[in-house]
C-alpha cells in the first residue's frame, strides 16, 4: 500500500534520513523501532506530508505523494498521532470533531460519529469537558479518536505511548489493535520500546542513523539481529569479539579472551568474528559437577548481581571474559548468590549467535 523509495532528508546540511526504502502492506501493523534521534519522526512526518523529502519517492497505492504536501486528497486518507499530546482549547467533543468539520459532515453525522468514538475510547460523558484538563493518557486517546473518527486508510503514530504510564499505554495499544482488526486500517508506528513492537507489530524495521538497517518480523530481528548495533539496541548482552581458531565436529571454535567457545556456524579458522549470547540462554550452576548437555561450559566467579524486578542479571568473570547471565530473583535468594562465589556457566552451541561482516570493520 505504501512504498517508500530511497527517501533522503537533509536539514541544514545534516543528513537525517540517508536512503530509506520499504514496502508496507495494506492492513498490516508496521513498527519502526530504534533509539531516539535517528530519524523516525522525520520519516513519519514525510509520510504524513508534513515535510518534503530532499529526494526519494513515496507511493500511496501507486501514486507518488511526497511532493504535493498540500494535496488534501491524500492527507485526508491518513491520520497521525504525535508523541506529545495535542489538545485544542476546546471541549473534548470539538477536539474529536475537528477533522469531520473540515470534511464538511452534517451536524447530525458529526454528533453520531463523535459520540461513538468517545464510547470506543472509554471517555463517554467527557464530551463537554475542556480537553486541556484531561490527563496525558486521556489526551492521547482523544488524539487517537480525532484521527480515527475520520476513517483513514492509514494511521501513523509517532511514539504514541512514550510519555504515558503503563495503564494508559495498554489502553492505547488495545485501541490500535482494535482499529487495525475492526477497520483494516494500515498502521505505521514508531517506538523505542521493542517489546511494544513485539506486542503490536506484524513487521518491524530497525532504524538507525537515518536508514532501516534490518526489517522483517519481530522474531527475525530478535533472534537474528543483523548487526552489532541492532543487537545492542535489542539489548542482547554479551556481545564479544574473537577469532576462529579451528573447526571441530562441524562446529567452529572461537577464542575470546583466551576462552574457547563453540558455535554451530561454520566459519574458516582465522576469521575474526563478533558474537552474541543471550543472557537468558546461559545457565548458572553453583555445583560444578551438575550434568549438562550444553557444549559450552565455563568456570568463573560472580562479579556483580544486578536486580531488574523478578529477573536479574549476574555478571560472571572468567579470566578477562565477562558474560551476563539471567537468573530469577528467587534463585538469587535461595542460593544466596553474591559477588565472589565461584560458579559455572553453560550454554548450548546454537545459542552462540555470530553476526556477519563485523568485528574489524569500522562502523557505518
Amino acid at each position: 500500500m505504501i512504498e517508500i523509495q530511497d527517501i533522503r532528508k537533509e536539514f541544514d546540511g545534516k543528513e537525517v534520513l540517508s536512503g530509506v526504502t520499504q514496502t508496507i502492506r495494506k492492513g498490516e501493523i508496521f513498527a519502526i523501532i530504534g533509539p531516539s534521534g535517528q530519524g523516525k519522526t522525520t520519516l513519519l512526518r514525510i509520510l504524513n506530508l508534513l515535510e518534503i523529502p530532499t529526494s526519494g519517492t513515496i507511493l500511496f497505492e501507486g501514486t507518488p505523494i511526497q511532493a504535493s504536501p498540500d494535496s488534501n486528497l491524500f492527507r485526508r486518507r491518513m491520520g497521525m498521532v504525535f508523541q506529545s499530546t495535542v489538545a485544542f482549547r476546546d471541549t473534548v467533543f470539538n477536539n474529536i470533531a475537528l477533522g469531520l468539520r473540515y470534511r464538511g459532515h452534517s451536524k447530525k453525522e458529526i454528533h453520531e460519529l463523535v459520540m461513538k468514538k468517545l464510547d470506543e475510547i472509554g471517555l463517554s460523558g467527557y464530551e463537554n469537558r475542556r480537553a486541556l484538563t484531561l490527563s496525558g493518557g486521556e489526551k492521547q486517546r482523544v488524539s487517537l479518536a480525532r484521527v480515527m473518527v475520520t476513517g483513514p486508510d492509514l494511521l501513523i503514530l509517532d511514539e504514541p505511548t512514550a510519555n504515558l504510564d503503563p495503564v494508559s499505554t495498554n489502553v492505547i495499544e488495545d485501541l490500535i489493535r482494535h482499529y487495525n482488526r475492526e477497520f483494516g486500517t494500515t498502521v505505521i508506528m514508531s517506538t523505542h520500546d521493542l517489546i511494544q513492537g513485539q506486542r503490536l507489530a506484524d513487521r518491524v524495521a530497525v532504524m538507525m542513523e537515518g536508514r532501516f538497517i534490518q526489517s522483517g518480523t519481530i522474531f527475525d530481528v530478535f533472534l537474528h539481529p543483523s548487526s552489532k548495533k541492532v543487537a545492542s539496541f535489542i539489548g542482547i548482552g554479551n556481545i564479544i569479539t574473537g577469532r576462529v581458531v579451528r573447526n571441530e565436529d562441524g562446529m567452529s571454535v572461537i577464542s575470546v579472551k583466551g576462552v574457547e567457545i563453540y558455535s554451530i556456524d561454520t566459519i574458516p579458522p582465522g576469521t575474526p568474528v563478533t558474537l552474541a549470547i543471550r543472557p537468558e540462554e546461559i545457565t548458572l550452576h553453583i555445583v560444578p559437577e551438575e550434568k549438562t548437555s550444553a557444549r559450552n561450559v565455563i568456570a568463573g566467579t560472580i562479579e556483580s548481581v544486578r536486580l531488574f524486578g523478578i529477573i536479574s542479571l549476574i555478571s560472571v568473570m572468567s579470566g578477562d571474559l565477562k558474560l551476563s547471565v539471567q537468573v530469577t530473583w528467587q534463585s538469587i535468594r535461595e542460593l544466596d548468590l553474591k559477588p565472589g562465589i565461584p560458579v559455572t556457566i553453560s550454554f548450548k552451541a546454537p545459542s552462540v549467535h555470530i553476526m556477519p561482516g563485523e568485528s574489524t570493520h569500522a562502523c557505518y
Binding site: L50, N72, M80, F82, V86, L98, Y102, S143
Partner: protein, 228 residues
C-alpha cells in the same frame, strides 16, 4: 485630594442629571472608538495572520517595525494624518479634516500596529504541534486560518481590548484632526484636555472618571465574551 472628591461628586452629578453635553461627547467617543476598532480588526487580524503564517525574507524586520510602531506618539499620528487629510494634502478631497471620519481615520492608523503585532504574537504562541495537527487533518486554507484564530482567540481578544483602550484614551490625534469642535468633534479626551487648560479641574476629573467607567463596562463585557 479635595479636587478628587469634588471630581467624583461632579461625575455622579453629571451622570445623574444626564447632562446633554456630556451625553453628546460620550456617544461620540464611543462611535468613533468602536468604528476605528472595527476597521482595525478587519485589517489587523488578516494582516497579522498573513505575516505570521508566511515565511518571507525580512519577516523578522517587518515584525520589529510593527512592534516599534506600538510606541507611535498620538501627536505624531495626528500630525501625519493632518498632512494627509488637509485640503492641501493628498487626501484633501475626502474633506475629512475636522470631522469624526477624520478622527476615525487617525485612530485606526494609530491602533492597527498594536492589533497586528499582538495578533502575530498570539498566533506565534500556538504550539507548532497544533499547526501540524491542523495540517495533518487536511484543513483547507480557510479552515487552517479559522482553526488557528480560534485556538488563539483568548490572546486575540486581548489584542482587541488593547486596541480599544488605546483608541478611547488618546488625545493627540483627536485634537489635531478633529479640532475639538463642540457638538461635532469633541470627545471625552479632548473635552478633558480643554477643561484642564481652562483650569476647571474638577470637571476634567469628572469627565475622566466617566471615561474610565465606560472603559470598565466595555472591558467587563469583552472579558465576558473572552471567557466563554
Amino acid at each position: 485630594m479635595n479636587d478628587l472628591l469634588t471630581g467624583i461628586e461632579t461625575a455622579f452629578l453629571l451622570i445623574q442629571t444626564a447632562d446633554p453635553e456630556v451625553i453628546d461627547i460620550t456617544i461620540r467617543t464611543l462611535q468613533i472608538t468602536f468604528s476605528s476598532v472595527l476597521i482595525s480588526v478587519m485589517v489587523a487580524i488578516p494582516l497579522g495572520a498573513a505575516i505570521s503564517f508566511r515565511e518571507f525574507r525580512g519577516k523578522k524586520t517587518a515584525i520589529s517595525i510593527i512592534q516599534t510602531l506600538y510606541a507611535l506618539p498620538t501627536v505624531v499620528v495626528g500630525l501625519l494624518c493632518f498632512m494627509l487629510l488637509s485640503r492641501s494634502g493628498p487626501l484633501g478631497d475626502l474633506g475629512w479634516m475636522f470631522t469624526p471620519n477624520g478622527m476615525i481615520f487617525g485612530q485606526t492608523i494609530l491602533i492597527i500596529p498594536i492589533m497586528t503585532g499582538l495578533t502575530i504574537s498570539a498566533l506565534q504562541a500556538i504550539d507548532p504541534i497544533i499547526t501540524d495537527t491542523i495540517r495533518s487533518l487536511g484543513a483547507s486554507r480557510f479552515q487552517f486560518l479559522k482553526s488557528h484564530l480560534r485556538e488563539a482567540r483568548f490572546a486575540i481578544m486581548a489584542a482587541i481590548i488593547v486596541g480599544f483602550s488605546r483608541a478611547i484614551s488618546e488625545v493627540g490625534t483627536a485634537i489635531m484632526i478633529g479640532g475639538n469642535i463642540k457638538g461635532h468633534t469633541r470627545v471625552l479626551t479632548t473635552a478633558i484636555s480643554l477643561q484642564t487648560s481652562m483650569g476647571n479641574f474638577n470637571l476634567s476629573l469628572a469627565l475622566g472618571i466617566i471615561l474610565l467607567v465606560i472603559a470598565l463596562i466595555i472591558n467587563l463585557f469583552m472579558g465576558f465574551v473572552q471567557n466563554r
